[in-house]
Each structure stands twice: as structure tokens, then as C-alpha cells.
């Protein structure tokens, strides 16, 4: 009998822990999802994997922090941070990608890696090596859900991810610009024949990705803190999430992000915290062995995935 009770207690404790790991995983995962979305948007329109995606997140967070420190109100700082990053994203396409027009996709991808290193370096010069913090949007008092507890900022992250998803959906389904981008994704030559400029669409896709990244950076900054080199690891995890999701599918990107986040947190909690960063890559390999096109990849190419 006592053995049974002891066993049951362990079982309950484990359940409580798992719930916390799940909460943590979903939070971290939705940040990965936002970054994965950025990858997918650019990839679908241009075929480029933009490795400066993490730097957009960093720019959003760091611009927000420095504006806030200079007494700019939160909401205004948020808008300015996202706008500035969007402009930088568009400029990146204009100044770095466009001039190399005609180069192979791999060359363009390498250009984005260079851009990433450059932006990070400029970030270091501008903001220095120190980490900065941003106050939480609605306080720090933890919310208890069952046996798990989260900070209110987590809800901001989750809600933001949901809103971004819906907004992206509406953008691609209901607006002319969105439809034009989808047309480019499906068949670039045909789109050009219909009077759509693929080069303008490419710039819009970079701008859109940059604003996605910036929004992600701003909402995550209060919990993760912000520093000039925060983008590197985030971009990697977001990229893994995007591949797991099939690289060209928006719902896939979100599912991939959540999967990576949850497995990472479960692995750190239940196996060993030392393997946390390795887990994302192990998951990537496993998924690719089983489904080489990713979880959501290769099914519905008629819509270009968007």
C-alpha cells in the first residue's frame, strides 16, 4: 500500500512538472513560430532563406528598449520600432539582395548571412555589449494555471502570435498585395505576365518579414531581455521550426515552432538541461527522416503554401 501511495505521489508531481514544461514550451515555441513565419514569407516569394531574420528580432527589441529608455511612451515606441525595422528590412532587399540579381539562390542566401553579421556588428557599435531590459507590458505578478505558473507577458506573446497569424491570413487571402505575393510564389513568370512586379514583391516580403520579426522581438524582450547578439540562436531555432513545418507553409511554421519549443522544454526538464539546444536539431533530423518534406510540406503547392 505505501508503495502505491508513493508511486501515485511521484506520478502527480511529474504531471505538475510536465504542465509547467508545456507552458514554458508553448511560450518559447510561439516566439520561434513568429521567426519561422518570417522565414516562410521570404522563402515563398523569393526562394531565399533569409538568415538575417534573427537580426530583425534583435532590431525590434533593441530599438524598442532604447526608445523606451529615452522616455518615449510604450505604444509610440512599439510603432516606431516596428516601422524602423520594416524600413531596414526593405532596405536590406534593395541594397544587398537586388544588386545581386541573377546570382544563384545559394549566393543570395550567403548574402543574407553576411547581412546578419553586419547588422549584429552595427548593433554592437550602437548599443554596446550589455544586455538591456524592458518592463513587462502588464506587470510581473505571476498567473497560476493549474499547477503551472506563467508571467502576464506570456499571454502577450501568445496573443500576438495568434493575431499575427490571422493578420497574415487576411493579408494573403483578402488584399490585392497579398494575392499578388501569392501569385509570385506560385508562378513567377505567370505573375509577371499579369503585370505583377516580382522585384517589388520581393521587397515587400522582406519588409513584411522584418515587421514580423520586430513585433516578435518587442513582445519577447521583457521576458528574455535584449542584447545585440540575441538574434543568432533565435534565427537558428526559427529556421529549424520552418523546415520542420515544410519551409513553405504558414501553419507548418507555427506548428514547427511550437513543436520545437515544447520538446526543448520537455527535454530540458525530463532528460537533462545540458541537451536543451541539441534537442531542436535532433528533432529536425528525426522529422526529416520520417517526412523529408517536413510535416506540412509538399501537400498543397497550388497556393504556394501561403
Amino acid at each position: 500500500m505505501p508503495a502505491d501511495i508513493a508511486f501515485e505521489r511521484i506520478y502527480v508531481e511529474l504531471y505538475q512538472q510536465v504542465l509547467q514544461y508545456l507552458m514554458t514550451g508553448v511560450t518559447v515555441g510561439s516566439i520561434y513560430a513568429i521567426i519561422a513565419l518570417g522565414f516562410v514569407v521570404i522563402y515563398n516569394v523569393t526562394g531565399i532563406i533569409n538568415f538575417a531574420q534573427g537580426e530583425f528580432v534583435m532590431l525590434g527589441a533593441m530599438i524598442m528598449v532604447s526608445l523606451y529608455k529615452n522616455q518615449v511612451p510604450m505604444v509610440a515606441a512599439f510603432v516606431i520600432a516596428v516601422l524602423l525595422t520594416t524600413i531596414i528590412g526593405a532596405a536590406l532587399e534593395r541594397l544587398a539582395i537586388r544588386p545581386a540579381k541573377g546570382a544563384s539562390i545559394v549566393t543570395l542566401i550567403i548574402i543574407t548571412i553576411g547581412a546578419s553579421i553586419t547588422i549584429r556588428g552595427l548593433g554592437l557599435i550602437t548599443w554596446g555589449p550589455n544586455t538591456s531590459s524592458l518592463p513587462a507590458f502588464s506587470g510581473d505578478a505571476p498567473l497560476v494555471i493549474g499547477t503551472a505558473s506563467i508571467v502576464p507577458q506570456t499571454l502577450w506573446v501568445l496573443v500576438t502570435t495568434a493575431i499575427l497569424l490571422i493578420a497574415l491570413y487576411l493579408f494573403f487571402e483578402r488584399t490585392l498585395l497579398g494575392k499578388a505575393m501569392r501569385a509570385c510564389a506560385i508562378n513567377m513568370s505567370a505573375a509577371r505576365l499579369m503585370g505583377i512586379s516580382p522585384s517589388v514583391m520581393a521587397m515587400v516580403s522582406f519588409a513584411l518579414s522584418a515587421s514580423l520579426g520586430a513585433v516578435g522581438g518587442v513582445v519577447m524582450a521583457p521576458t528574455t531581455l535584449a542584447t545585440y547578439d540575441m538574434g543568432t540562436m533565435l534565427a537558428l531555432k526559427g529556421f529549424v521550426a520552418a523546415i520542420i513545418g515544410g519551409m513553405s507553409s504558414t501553419p507548418g511554421a507555427v506548428a514547427g515552432g511550437l513543436l520545437v519549443g515544447v520538446l526543448e522544454s520537455m527535454g530540458a526538464g525530463l532528460i537533462s538541461s545540458g541537451y536543451k539546444d541539441a534537442i531542436a536539431f535532433v528533432v529536425l533530423f528525426l522529422v526529416l527522416f520520417v517526412r523529408p518534406n517536413g510535416i506540412f510540406g509538399g501537400r498543397d503547392t497550388s497556393k504556394g503554401g501561403l
Partner: protein
Amino acid sequence: MKQPKWLMVSLLLVLALAALAVGACTATPTPTPTTAPKPPAPAAATPAKPAATAPAATTPAKSAATPAASKPAASKEPYKIGGLFAITGPASSLGIPERNTVQLLEEQINQQGGINGTPVKMVIADTESDETKAVLAAKKLIDEDKVLAIVGPSQSGESLAIADTIEKAEIPLVSAAASIKIVDPVKKWIFKTPQSDSLIVQALVDYLKAKGYTKIGWLSVSNAFGDSGKVEFEKAAPGAGLTTVAKESFGANDTDVTAQLTRVKAANPDAIVVWAIPPAAAIVSKNVAQLGIKQPVFQSHGIGNKQFIDLAGTAANGVRFPVGKLLVADSLSGSDAQKKVLQEYAKGYTAKFDANTLSTFGGHAWDGFWIVAKALEKSGPDRAKLRDAIESNTKEFVGITGVFSFSPTEHNGLDKRAVTMVEIKDGKWVNAE
């Protein structure tokens, strides 16, 4: 342009970038872990009075300058002391306060008439936070500038890198870096002033024992700083009857540690000990608050700077940690031998330099400078005699880091008095009770 080929390229890219990221992580410009805490800018220890009121006389200065009046200092060939610090590069937050400190002391000691009437000249060299450049700079100080002794370098790696050069050149070195390896085993010509990790950990272990916390949940950052803390803690804990009920690690760039903390919480410890520097150390404290963990949290001397309080915000309150006394100089009891020295140093430093750079690192250089200067007073300008004087003459010397007593077998010479427990209350450092 779709699948199979693509996936190969993607996979390769992932691997390449992962390698890049790892490289980038190790190269992040945090001061090297072995040198422990980043610069504290103590609010408590910052009497922001202008210098005009202080005739800038430190205790040792008086003793060193006794026969000054008879001989005008400027007329003699000055005693040259080398100052080898990481003034630029990632460890500049260590090297800048160190350079500032020795320049301040040079000025002070010469105002007092120098050493036995001979003025002191500091020859400053920059290691650029680089071990190879540290060796070159040390050689230049020894061969070209012909200094009598060297204070520095700032980092443990640099100190170990120049050890051979120093021993061969037979010149006294008083390092400002933390690693125990610098003086263990004892090298004839090399001394160091910062506390070793073992001393810091011992102070924490004693405190935990005194407070009756026996079951400890341990978390440390997975780099040299965290590992060293872990090794020392595992050595010291059993002697004090402490058991480690949970042992977790996290990355220096991790942004969420709730999974590890949930495991620690499940092990139900009496207290949680965290060994890391900000920002990760601040993330841990924020996550502790988020999870509503009630157990007291102890951190390392790695959080002895304003950055931790800035980043952790209200979650910093209640955190206790072992650290040198400079942070809480003003709240030390009047009977503490160091109180006056600490306050005078803080006053003199902040009058001349940015108060935000006042730190225990500058204190390590202060100790090195005075240890050399006091020995010079005994030995005169001869490297070998100077070394002997440093070893035999430094007894119960009251410095910034602690009270030093060197001997042929002990070239760090600090004891428990060099560490105190500090608590963060309302975003300020106070003595922990």
C-alpha cells in the same frame, strides 16, 4: 527548386550556422568567466562628494611617505612600476577601473613625496584582453621600460600566459586575476590579490550552514565560471553537512530557465544556489519569481554589479551573495579594519573618475600597487630584493579586497575576512544578516 537537393543544402546550412553560433557564443564580450564578477558600481559605496574635501591620503600612503619631507621627490630617478591591464577589448570593464586606480595612486603617492623620497612612475600597457598581446606587452615592460615590478594582468588567462616570461625574467608580478592556478602551485615571482573561488564558496557554505539550510538546489551556468563554482561547492559542501538535492545547468545565453527551476523546485531544497553572471543570472531570478518559488535564493559574486539589479528588477530583491566588501563599505561596522580604506578609495576614485566604473577590479589593482609600493620602501630598486620584501613584508596588510598575509607557501594570502554576504534590498546592496 524543391525538395531533396534543398534539404541537403538546408541541413548543411544549419550545421554551418550552428558552428557559427557556438563560435559567436564563446566570443561574446563578457569578461572571462575565470575572472568572475563584472564591474560593480556600488550605490552604497559611492559617497559622491567632490574631491576638494579630501586630501586624498590613504592609510598606507602615510607610512610609505614618512621621510618625504627631507628629500624633494622630483629630483630622483623615479621607481618604475608596470601596470598591465585589459584596457581595451572584451575585458575592458576590468582593465579600465584598474588603470584608473593605479593612475590615481601614482598621483597620490607622489603628492606625499613618493617612496622614501623617490617618485613613482606607472608605465601602463594594454593587453587588449588578449593573451598573446599580454605576453608581448609584459616583455616590453620588462626589457624596454625596465620596470621593477608589474601589477596585473586583469584576466586569469593572461596571467597564466605570461607566467613563464615572468619567472624567466625574474621580476615580481602581482596579478589582478582570480584563478587559483595563478598561485597554486606557488611560483616564486608571482602573487595575486583577488579572492579565489574556493574562498568565496567557503564563505557561502558557512553562511548556509549557519542559517540551517542543509538541502541545496544547485544551478550553474555551463562555462568555466559556473563549472569552477560547482567544483568548489562540491568540495566544500560535505564538510558543512550540506547535501545537493538537485543539480542543473543552463547556457550563458539562455532566455528561459523555468524547466530547470521546476526540477529544482520538485526536489524541495531548503535554499537555491545559482552560480552565473548577468544576463543569465538575472533570467534565473526572474524565473524564480515567475514560478513563485518560496525558498531563499543565493547567487555568486558574479552578480556584484549594477547590471544584475537593472536586469532582474524587483526579482533581484532578497537575493543574497558572497562578495568583497567594497559594495557595502558604508554599512560595515566601525570596527572593521577595511572600512576606512574602502571608503577612502571609493571617495578618491569617484572624485576623479566615472562612479559607474568603481569596482572590486580597481580594488585588486589598488592592493597590487600598495603591496609593491610598501615592499619597495623596504627593499629599494632591486627586483630580487623587492620580491623577497613582497613575500616577507606583506603581513596583515589591510587592502580593498581583504587583509593580506603572504608567505613562501602562500601568494594570495587572503582569509575569510575578504568575503562578506550581501543582500539586495529595494534595489540596493546591504549587509546580509
